[in-house]
């Protein structure tokens, strides 16, 4: 019999459909009788949705405009050398 802690550990695999059939059924049955775990799975789905919207970024101090200029200058040299 699955416990709430097992559901928490397997939530990603459950959502992604990566659980073996027997475990998926066991988890589904647990969700039928446990409101807390149903709510947890709902929260987890919302977490995934919001991450895809907020799109947190790596901390990065690269000057992207300067990098783009450097690559552009290099492209000019490389490709004009090929002509």
């Amino acid at each position: 019999m699955l416990q709430c802690k097992d559901v928490t550990d397997e939530t990603s695999n459950y959502i992604e459909g990566d659980l073996p059939f027997s475990k998926r059924i066991a988890l589904f049955l647990h969700l039928m009788i446990c409101r807390c775990c149903r709510n947890y799975v709902q929260q987890f789905r919302k977490t995934i949705d919001t991450v895809s919207v907020v799109r947190p970024q790596e901390v990065d101090e690269t000057d992207r405009q300067a990098l783009a200029k450097k690559l552009h200058a290099m492209c000019d040299k490389t490709h004009s050398g090929e002509k």
Binding site: C4, K5, T8, T11, R35, Y40, K46, E58, K69, L71
Partner: protein
């Protein structure tokens, strides 16, 4: 309809590549803005923070040199990520580097369950945490960004690639050179950390 969308994405990308080869400065700004973060995330996961910047710069240079030969068999994003992944992996081999999977990660002590594994406190549904509501709540956005940035590099790469960029688990395994069970664990830990940060914010 879907066919048209794909066709138009392919056309857009062809135009972008033509503009890059033709030396359009705006095209360079666009690709750097669009893909640098993902490339950095992949490099940091494979080689660690200290030399990731260098690996990404080298990858950009290799990509620009090879651009006229780019045949479009994959998307530009896939191609760039493959270049940075290969560069990072060869750096790891050459320097005999070892990057731990979960460097610095510690499981949060689980005080949410009793000894039998049942939840102690009630869990309520999140009514307001729709993506739209989150976008309107800058404080919560900061909470999510901070939780993400506190994750080890491998976990950040897993959640970035799968939940933000739409990669499949097996693609992530190839790019980061990890097993699928490791990829699943990293992804789950990252999601749990972000979930817990949101939950804590909602409780306060």
């Amino acid at each position: 309809m879907i066919k048209n969308i794909f066709k138009s994405q392919r056309d857009d990308e062809n135009t972008l590549i033509q503009n890059l080869v033709a030396g359009d400065p705006l095209a360079f700004e666009y690709v750097v803005a669009e893909y640098h973060n993902l490339m950095l995330s992949v490099a940091r996961a494979i080689v660690g923070d200290s030399i990731a910047d260098e690996v990404v710069q080298e990858a950009w240079i290799s990509a620009i040199k090879a651009l006229p030969k780019f045949e479009g068999r994959s998307s530009l994003k896939t191609w760039l990520v493959q270049i940075v992944s290969n560069g990072a992996k060869s750096r790891v081999r050459r320097e005999n580097r070892y990057t731990p999977l979960d460097d610095g990660w510690e499981a949060v002590p689980s005080d949410k369950f009793d000894q039998t594994g049942h939840r102690i406190d009630d869990v309520l549904p999140w009514e307001t945490a729709t993506p739209e509501a989150l976008l309107a709540n800058t404080q919560l956005q900061e909470v999510i960004e901070q939780a993400f940035q506190a994750l080890p590099a491998m976990q950040r790469a897993a959640i970035t690639m799968i939940d933000m960029e739409g990669y499949k688990i097996d693609e992530v395994c190839n790019i980061l050179d990890i097993s699928s069970s490791n990829a699943r664990v990293l992804l789950h830990r990252a999601r749990v950390a972000v979930h817990d940060a949101i939950e804590q914010h909602q409780d306060n």
